[in-house]
């Protein structure tokens, strides 16, 4: 558990640093950010199908959202 706490603090530090260094982007400057290709998950179905594949083939899961459905996928 201590390992993950260290990683969390490191990433939070980097995240805070990046937030401090970030520009204050105004609403009218968000044309690029509003594009579909700039969404953090630009293709929801592709993401869903990939998560199903890797959930079935690897021991790790989760990270992006909560309350996902389980399955006995082999």
């Amino acid at each position: 558990m201590s390992k993950i706490i260290q990683v969390v603090f490191l990433l939070l530090f980097l995240f805070s640093l990046s937030a401090c260094l970030s520009e204050n982007v105004k609403p009218w400057e968000r044309g690029t950010l509003a594009k579909q290709s700039m969404q953090l998950v630009p293709d929801e179905l592709e993401n869903f199908l990939d998560e199903h594949i890797y959930f079935s083939k690897e021991a790790s899961t989760g990270g992006r959202s909560v309350g996902g459905g389980g399955c006995g996928c082999n």
Binding site: F15, L49, I53, S60
Partner: protein, 419 residues
Amino acid sequence: MSKFTSKPVRDSLTIACATLLQPSGTAQAELMEDIEIDTAVLYYSESDGRVSLIEPVIKLKSELEEDEFFSLQIVFDALTGASPNGAQSSNVAQTFTTPSGNGSYTIAAGDLPLDDTFRDTRLAVTATLEKPVDRLTKNLFTANFSKEFDWLSLGAGYTFSKDFNQRNTTFSAGAGLTLDTIDPIGGAPIALSTMAAQNKESDESRTSYDLMVGLTQVLSKKTITQLNLGISQSDGYHNDPFKIVSEFDNITGQPTGTYLFESRPDARQRTTLYWKTAHHLTEDVINFAYRFYTDDWGIDSHTLDLKYRFTLSDTDYLQPHIRYYSQTAADFYRHSLLDNETVPEFVSADYRLGEFNTMTYGIKYGRNLGKNHDISGRIEFMQQTGDSNPADAVGEQLNQDLYPDLDAIILQFSYSFIW
């Protein structure tokens, strides 16, 4: 295609959705002008006659009120092929009992023991409601239902998110609950009992709780990043009822003919740290994600995912994809047991709990066909590799591949439009 343009049907569906969700306002039905429809079909196929899957999915999304969205996703999948049963290959033929206990199958010398009676179909439905509280705050509710032949999963989730810092920072927090019921044909095998005895018990269940907090930050006009921390606790039945562990002679390294049903702990705690960034270059877009995962079964993993979207024209793009995954083995993972040792309390030979790497390479092409019609297709190749010659192999096991590679192809076609 005419059914998609049948206005009376669309209006009926619109009113039905709105009435269901807005009991107080039939007038709200008029707010739902359009329904966004995303469709996709996935074909996944493993080499050597292992698992094949066809999975069509459709997602409908509609705006009920300003910034209030309801979506419904329906997935069907059909699985066929053969799945490793957990036993190791050897230089003699091996005979196994089918999971139902009513039949048997024999695997030739040198071949990986695969259970080819394996097939399943699944129907899964997810409903999501995104409801704003005010201009900066919103609630997201999800409900999941998934049913396959021997498995029922019910889930619910709630996520709260709030924008700060002139909407350049978003904080989110969520909680989820999943209830699984597992009812394999003939019952769930008793852990560590022999395959020959076929000692089964009734259905089993598992409850999982998820918690997540996340921060999303706009870094510039062209860069956005997100960091999520997730914790999950599951209690109950965690065994795979179809997986066995084979016992080998400690000198000759040949199977003794004894196969035990696997035994996993009845609880699992998982922690994930997930970081994602999207950056827009002059024309192209880079999308990068990293996940660190750790659980109390001893599994740690790292996942790196990179997509680069080349903009070919106003309507076309090409997107190469590379994904790297690496995990350590569960503390109780064993490729096999030896006949001179005490059987451990927990043991599994499920290759997914072993130490391995996955590499995926793919390419996707997408095209906008004009006014809200988009198509895309992708092809990807996945390979999993583990340690084929572990240091603890004995006798004849030294001549066997104790972690055969897995190769798979992934094909997907998608079509999205607005109705």
